[in-house]
């Protein structure tokens, strides 16, 4: 089996498994992002909706695996793209089932509860640990500077699906330090995002949990970008990055799944009428900038809040700046 086929099949398996998990990856209070009565999932209409969804995703996984197997040899890059077919089928099926479930939606919850304790806006002390991995790209930059003479005049900076280099860079400070700089930028971006979510969302245990996940991501990015940054002088197998990424993503998903499906976790009261396509929230009356997602784990932005647009604009500008640096 060539590496392009292996990679494509890995993407099919990973994407397919995730899409199969989607109907279960939410609080029992929701099904396909619709608020449903307690116990609805176990009822016949609930199980039928999940069955139909799974059937479409399984067919997409099978079709994707066949297409990928036949194309991986001739068009390896296209095969990786087509490996995302289960995701496309999953989204389409999700929206169809969501539409069908509207008739079973539970009445909107009107009761809201709030703690009158003033605390909760103080960051946990362990957040300081998130600054530690920022030392990794700095250390890598210092190492590269000390071993500048060992860097070849031309080194690979991009690899194809088959694992072969397909883009090269010359020995310039921008090319050598660029990945480390963009890595550090992404780490800072994640930290800022974590802080924005912490201060811009309702007090709930999920708020601290997402902060922990983002800190874990900062550590992960620190190691990955340091590895990539050292590539001009240290040969690190591309497969190691891919395996590490898949393992890390699987661990984060398992962590998030455990929290989301825990019936003891409080569920945020947002109204169905302000959710579009099950994942876009827009409620001008809600002062929260970030709200808990209904599918998967984490937070999404409240597009009805002016502050959200300001934050989004700032983050997008930052990301564009990072992309520019990376190039």
């Amino acid at each position: 089996m060539n590496s392009a086929l292996f990679l494509s099949l890995l993407v099919v398996a990973f994407t397919g498994a995730f899409m199969l998990l989607v109907p279960h990856f939410s609080s029992p209070r929701y099904l396909f992002a619709v608020t449903v009565p307690a116990g609805f999932r176990a009822s016949e209409p609930g199980r039928a909706a999940i069955r139909r969804y799974h059937w479409w995703v399984v067919r997409a996984i099978a079709a994707s695996a066949v297409i990928v197997a036949t194309m991986a040899q001739s068009w390896p890059d296209l095969a990786v793209v087509l490996a995302m077919l289960p995701a496309i089928a999953g989204v389409a099926s999700f929206l169809r089932e969501r539409s069908k479930l509207q008739g079973y939606a539970a009445p909107p919850p009107g009761v809201r509860e709030a703690d009158l304790a003033p605390d909760g806006d103080h960051l946990p002390r362990w957040i300081a640990l998130a600054l530690v991995p920022l030392a990794l790209p700095l250390a890598a930059a210092a190492y590269l500077r000390a071993h500048w003479s060992e860097i070849p005049e031309r080194f690979p900076v991009h690899w194809g699906a088959a694992g072969e280099p397909n883009r090269w860079a010359g020995k310039t400070p921008a090319a050598v330090y660029g990945p480390l700089l963009s890595g550090a930028g992404m780490m800072l971006f994640l930290l800022l995002l974590g802080l924005a979510i912490f201060y811009g969302s309702r007090r709930a245990p999920q708020r601290t949990a997402i902060l922990k996940i983002l800190v874990a991501c900062v550590y992960f990015l620190g190691f990955i970008f340091t590895g990539v940054g050292l590539m001009p002088v240290v040969r690190v197998p591309i497969a190691a990055f891919l395996v590490a990424t898949f393992l890390f993503a699987a661990a984060v998903i398992a962590w998030g799944y455990k929290i989301v499906t825990d019936p003891a976790q409080p569920v945020e009261a947002t109204l169905d009428q302000y959710w579009y396509l099950g994942s876009i929230y827009c409620n001008p009356q809600d002062p929260a900038i970030f709200v808990q997602k209904r599918i998967g784990f984490g937070y999404t932005i409240n597009f009805g809040n002016r502050m959200s647009w300001l934050l989004l604009g700032s983050f997008l500008a930052g990301m564009l700046g990072l992309v520019r640096v990376a190039r």
Binding site: G110, V111, R112, R202
Partner: protein, 130 residues
Amino acid sequence: MPPPAKIRIDLNSAVPAYRQIVDAVRVLLVEGALPPGSELPSVRRLAMDLGVHFNTVGEAYRELAAEGWLDLRHGRGATVIARGSPAARPEQLQEFRTRLRSLVAQMRSEGVAPARIAAELRSLTESLKP
């Protein structure tokens, strides 16, 4: 350590949200769950947690401050202050009587016995003692 005081409002209720916040916080103040010196969440934080507009919480805090329960200093949030027991004015007493009368009539119309209503009122009055 006692659990932190909580308030609950119902956005589907006919009673305005700000009025529900005032009533809920006042109950906690009267029963001593929020003693003088207690700090309340900022307007921004409470509004976000309850999912209501900032002005709704701001108005509720201002009303409680006007009643002498809270000290609202700009940028420092709301702090519970010591408050004497003012003597209710005759017109206030009349207003309370009217509201109680309406509530008692509603309870009677729903089949609650007069003795039970009297017992409930006595029990609630006792439980609200700080």
